[in-house]
Each structure stands twice: as C-alpha cells, then as structure tokens.
C-alpha cells in the first residue's frame, strides 16, 4: 500500500492541515507501532502494543477483536480522546495524510477531530447530551468548527438529518435524544459525525446495541454514505457477521496487538493465525447446519499479566516451546504474500488449516 494516487489528498497538494503541509502521496491514515498504556494502581496495562494498520480513501477496514483486545483504545488514540491520566500514548505514530497527529499540540488536534476524522460510538444515548435538542447538537458542530450562523447551522442540521434518513427531519430538530429510538439515535450520531465532511469515519461497535433489522438499516446507510463521500471507514466490532458483510480489509486484534491483517475474503477463507481460525470455528453460522462448535479453550488474558512469547499460546492448540519463548513478528505468512500479515510462528502451516 505504498501508493494512494486515488485518494482525494492527491488532488489538493497545497492543502494544509493544522498548519502543516499534506503529503499528497501518503495514505489516508497510517498507524504505526502504536503503544497505549494505562497506568493503574494495580499495574500498567498495555492496551495497544505495536498496533499497525493503513487505511485508504473509500476503504472499509474492520478491526475485529473480543472484549479487552484493545480495539476501541486504538480508535480513541487515533481520535486523541484517551483519558489521560491514566492512559498514555507512549510510542508510535498516527499519520493522517502524512502528518503525524501525535506531534500536534492539542488545539491543532482539535481541528482534526470532526473536520477530518470523526467517530460514532456504540451507545448513542450516552454519547448524546440529554439536555440539548438533536438539532442543537448537530448544528453545534458547524457553529464551533466553522463559525456558521445559528440559522444556517440549523438548516444544515436538517439537511444532515435528512441525509441519514431520519423521517420528517426538519420537524424533529427540536426533539431530544430520548424521544428517538435506538436506531434513530444512531442516525443522529452519524449526522453529527458527518457534519464537517470528514475523510475518515471511525465506527466503534455502531450496531452492537441495535436489533438485527435496525442493524441492517444502519449498516446500509453507512455503506451508502461512504459511496457518496469516498470516506475511509474504520469499523470496530466483535461481530464476524457484520465484518463479512461490509469490510474490505480486516485487522484481527488479540491482547492489545494486531495478530493478523488481510483482505476480507482471505481472512475468512484462509486465516493464517490460529486465533482467527479459532474464531471461525467457534462461530455458529446462520447458513450452516449441524456441526458442533469448536470453542477456543480458556479466556482472553488479563493485560496486566500478558503471557510470555505469543500471548495466544496458552489457548492455542498448535503451540510449541518457541511460542512460549519468542514473540512472533507480524510478517507475511508465506514469503511474497504481500497483502497478508500474520503474527504466528507457524502461520505458513496455519494458513492451510481452513483454506477453502
């Protein structure tokens, strides 16, 4: 992914962000070697340990992981919204169009948030302010960041609500968040996130709290908006079904690290990491009958006590002594396979386990 000639950044080479020159050739987002620690009384939790991924315009990258894998923390680091203390980004870089966001001062960082990178959360009821109308909250984005006048901002808010298909948008500007259903609240969040036309939208478990019929509506809406705007979408989720339906590329996280990345079809049809293999085998499938599930034994590790070597080794059926002793690097599973990376000592063997 060295070239990104199709990204919008290529067309506007003189553009500056927060006073810095955009690199037209750089990928939309490049996260490298990200390390996030939480310093707690009980010890230091390394929630992200060398996280690494790239996102291009128009692409949907799914960050897949179970609870505690650090997937949400990596999104918060990109947004620059980690509570500090206790959280600290201690290493790595987050380059948005070539500009390392971690080197920007907070007032510049704020200009990136919303304008260039936006986020929507799982729980829209908590994320929205209960004492302001949704119209006010959407308009606030434009008024604060762009200095838009109140009446123009409300007009724009109504248009945004219409764009995310909230019925009778202009009449619902004065409604409060609690007056909306869960699916509609998530649409309000999306409208807020898209208000400033960001190049990247991070969706952190956007449909986990929603029913399956409403989930389908919201995912369809996101795909449609992405088609219209060409934004890059980072979808953070634990749901293998949702990922299979929408993602272009997948990064699988386990115990604070990315253990495998690749194109969606490859991840599902020839996973190269035993953890990914285990996830696929433990998943009951809607269209498959009769097979017994094969769970992964044990449970995910406590990140204050990360196992030695490969963190997955206590649960891995293929583990050998080397897995206990040595930490595997994230490398192509087979030499020359450039769109895949896997952090397993035996990924060359693993890739054939479920090859279909």
């Amino acid at each position: 992914m060295s070239t990104a000639t199709t990204s919008p950044s290529a067309q506007s080479s003189t553009e500056t962000i927060a006073g810095r020159q955009v690199d037209p050739g750089a990928p939309l987002l490049e996260v490298e070697n990200l390390r996030v620690e939480f310093r707690l009384n009980t010890g230091t939790v390394v929630a992200n340990d060398g996280v690494h991924y790239t996102l291009k315009s128009g692409e949907t990258l799914a960050i897949l992981g179970e609870s505690g894998s650090g997937k949400s923390v990596s999104a918060q680091a990109v947004m620059g919204i980690i509570d500090s203390p206790p959280g600290y980004v201690t290493d790595g870089s987050i380059r948005y169009r070539g500009i390392d966001l971690l080197t920007l001062p907070e007032n510049q960082r704020r200009k990136v948030r919303g304008n260039h990178i936006s986020i929507i959360f799982q729980d829209a009821l908590t994320a929205l302010n209960p004492v302001f109308t949704v119209g006010f909250q959407i308009a606030e984005m434009l008024r604060v960041h762009r200095g838009t006048s109140k009446s123009d901002a409300y007009k724009a808010a109504a248009e945004l609500m219409d764009r995310v298909k909230i019925p009778a948008a202009s009449e619902r500007l004065d409604s409060y968040p609690h007056e909306f259903s869960g699916g509609m609240r998530q649409r309000v969040m999306i409208a807020m996130a898209l208000a400033l036309d960001p190049a990247i939208l991070i969706a952190d478990e956007p449909t986990t709290a929603l029913d399956v019929t409403v989930q389908a509506q919201v995912m369809d809406l996101l795909a449609e908006l992405q088609d219209e705007t060409g934004m890059g979408l980072i979808l953070i989720t634990h749901d293998l079904g949702v990922v299979a339906e929408v993602a272009d590329r997948v990064a699988v996280m386990y115990a604070g690290r990315i253990v495998e990345t690749g194109d969606i079809d490859d991840i599902y049809h020839m996973p190269a990491h035993p953890y990914t293999i285990g996830l696929m085998e433990s998943l009951p499938q809607l269209d498959v009958k009769g097979s017994r599930l094969v769970p992964i034994p044990g449970s995910p590790p406590d990140l204050t006590r990360r196992p030695s070597g490969c963190a997955f080794h206590p649960r891995c059926r293929y583990a050998q002594q080397v897995c206990v002793d040595e930490d595997p690097a994230l490398t192509p599973p087979v030499p020359g396979m450039d769109r895949r990376l896997s952090a397993c000592h035996f990924s060359e063997e693993a890739i054939n386990v479920r090859r279909r």
């Binding site: 029913d211 079904g241 599902y268």
Partner: protein, 375 residues
C-alpha cells in the same frame, strides 16, 4: 464426572433423544402454555396513581415444550420474549392464561407451591455479572438452592456435590472458595449453569444465556448446554436474539413480534421455508459470516422501528413495517387485499404449510441457502 453425580442428576435422559421424535404432538409436553397474556399497567401521578394504559408485553401466546427438546424463542428487543420467561416462573404475575407443568397450572399455584415447582424449572440469566451474589463464594452460590429446596442433598454431602457440579460444568473444583469476581464472564455463566443443575430440574429457561459472551467463550457455553441436555434430558426454553445461535442449538423455533408469537416450527422449516414476512425479513437482515455470500440475495429491509407495545397497530401488529403489506398495497388498486391486514388480527394457526404462522397471506420464501457443515 463422577458416578455419584450421574446417579443424582439423571432424569430420564433416554426419552430425550431427538432422533426418536416422530410426532411431537403425540407426546406429553413438559410445559404447556395456553393463551398467556401479560400486560403492564402504565400509571400517571405520584400519590394517586391512575392507570392510563397498558403495555401489552405478551399477548395471547401459546406453546408447548417437550421433554429433552430445545425451543428457541427469537425476536427483537421489546417483542416480549423475556416477559414470557419471567411470567412462566411467576417472576411477573400473568394477566391471563394458563401454563401447565405436569398437569398443574402454574398460574394457580400458591406461592409456597410455586416455590416447590421452581425446583423443576430453573432459570439461567443473561448477565453473569449481575446474577451471582458478589459476596458469596462459588460453593455457597451453587449450594444455595439446597437451602431453599431442603432434603435434596444432606448437609454433609453438599460440599462434595458442589465440587462434582463444578467439574461437570468445566470449572476447577478447587476454586470452590473463590468469589464471582475472580472468574471470567464465561466461567461465571458456568457457575450459573451449575446452580441451575443443583436441583435436578427438568426444564431450564435460559434468557439470553450467551449474549454477553465473546464468540470464543460463547461456543464453550453453547457446547456445555448441549452436553448437559444430552446427558440429563433437560428441556430448554432458549431465549436469544442471535438467530445463528438459535439455529445451532434449537430443535424448534418460535418467532415473536410485539408480544405475539407469529411463526413456530421445527428449526428446518423456519430457517429454510419461512412463511411469515417478518421471519423472512429477520432472517434476511441477519448477517452471514461469509464474505463470498455477500449480496447474494436481495435483502428485505424493514422500515422504521417497533411500534409502541402500549398502542399496537390494529389488525395485524406487523403491518406498519410489513414489506408484503406495502407490496400488496402498491399492486392492488381499489380492490385491496390489505383490508384484512388492517382490521383482522391474524391468529397463529395452521395455514396449509408445514408449520403454523400468523399472517393472512403466508408464502414460502427461501431466504438463506443452507449449506451442510464441512466434515
């Protein structure tokens, strides 16, 4: 598992073998629910409360649960599936209806009689964090049912039995003195299962038992529930919103919408030949975990949200979101089929297909192309 445990817990597992299930209706159900209604009053005012309406959480739901089978109850939030479970155990008092367990109507029992019946009908809850007392050790939690249902296990044998139960559900018996917070989510759910098994129930009502668990751990608990059923022949009323999990574990499936049961049948017909437009939409919205099958079929997208259960639509409760209703309205001119949907409440009954449904215009439609599991 030890021999003693097997003897203690064995409850006619032989008849549970699903291969022998020839004709369900000819068998004696362990639980027979008829016309269950549960309305919650909506009140206004603080000192002088007056009822201003009712939330019709469950309305006229009937079903049978047979020994050793798993009946999956699916539906969106607000469909009333948890209320069915809680009302059965009289955690809520029913508004109307009957529920026969071994010939006795649960809803007519006194509190002390009901308490005795709860020995046979146990419940597992969704949230393994909230359903275990944080101040009790695992040993005390699993043994607590014996304090209520005395005479099952003698005082001196209790510790040994707890250890056996812990082993049975895949926990280390040496951890008997630990507290719930020392266990992971999956392990806590196992503790909940052990507690339910302590009194040798014949029915377990499981309300979203695996929804809070991660996929890798969820599979462990699903397998455990299957193993226990095979061994002891316990019937499960398995409530879940995850259609894939239900397909995996259930023998029969009942679909609920806005307090009503709208389609019920064995797992195969429901997943492969659904006839109710809501079931079809629900299946169509469920993501399939295979990127190669993306966009394979046209997705039926439902518009809008669940209507308020305090003021359900007239006629068919699903009509406000029904794609078939909209389609028929568009096709027909004046001569309209949808009049019936607007005025007549469709009953759950046999409508000429291989399983009953509650739609005036049922039609088979294949949504999911099922593949056999690779060996």
């Amino acid at each position: 598992m030890s021999d003693a445990g097997e003897k203690e817990l064995h409850l006619g597992g032989g008849e549970a073998e699903s291969e022998l299930r020839v004709d369900l209706d000819s068998r004696e159900p362990v639980l027979d629910v008829r016309n269950l209604v549960k309305h919650f009053p909506l009140t206004q005012g603080i000192l002088f409360k007056k009822t201003i309406g009712h939330v019709q959480a469950v309305d006229d739901v009937s079903f049978k649960l047979f020994p050793g089978e798993t009946l999956g109850l699916v539906g969106e939030s607000g469909s009333g599936k948890s209320t069915v479970a809680r009302t059965l155990l009289r955690l809520h008092e029913p508004t109307a209806g009957e529920a026969f367990y071994r010939g006795r109507d649960l809803f007519k029992l006194s509190h002390s009689e009901m308490r005795a019946v709860r020995r046979d009908i146990q419940m597992i809850f969704q949230d393994p964090y909230a359903s275990l007392n944080p101040r009790m050790t695992v040993g005390d939690i699993v043994a607590e049912p014996w304090r209520i249902h005395t005479g099952i296990v003698g005082k001196n044998e209790q510790r040994g039995r707890v250890a056996e139960l812990l082993e049975l559900v895949g926990l280390n018996p040496d951890h008997i003195n630990r507290f719930p917070h020392q266990f992971s989510g999956g392990q806590r759910q196992r503790i909940g299962v052990a507690r339910a098994l302590a009194v040798n129930p014949s029915v377990i009502v499981a309300d979203e038992p695996v929804s809070a668990l991660d996929v890798s751990v969820q599979a462990q608990v699903v397998n455990l529930l299957e193993d226990i059923q095979n061994e002891f022949g316990i019937a499960y009323l398995f409530i879940a919103h995850d259609l894939s999990v239900v397909r995996h574990i259930a023998d029969r499936v009942a679909v609920m919408y806005l307090g009503r049961m709208i389609e019920v049948g064995e797992e195969d017909p429901i997943y492969e030949r659904p006839v109710h437009p809501y079931t079809q939409a629900l299946l169509s919205a469920a993501p399939i975990a295979d990127p190669r099958r993306r966009q394979e079929s046209d997705r039926i997208l439902l518009e809008g949200d669940l209507p308020s259960p305090s003021d359900p639509p007239s006629g068919c409760r699903f009509r406000t979101r029904c794609w078939l209703f909209n389609q028929m309205a568009e096709e027909d001119g004046d001569e309209s089929r949808i009049g019936k949907c607007l005025t007549d409440d469709p009953r759950l009954e046999d409508r000429g297909f291989d399983h009953p449904s509650a739609c005036h215009y049922p039609a088979e439609r294949q949504i999911i192309e099922t593949v056999e599991a690779p060996a």
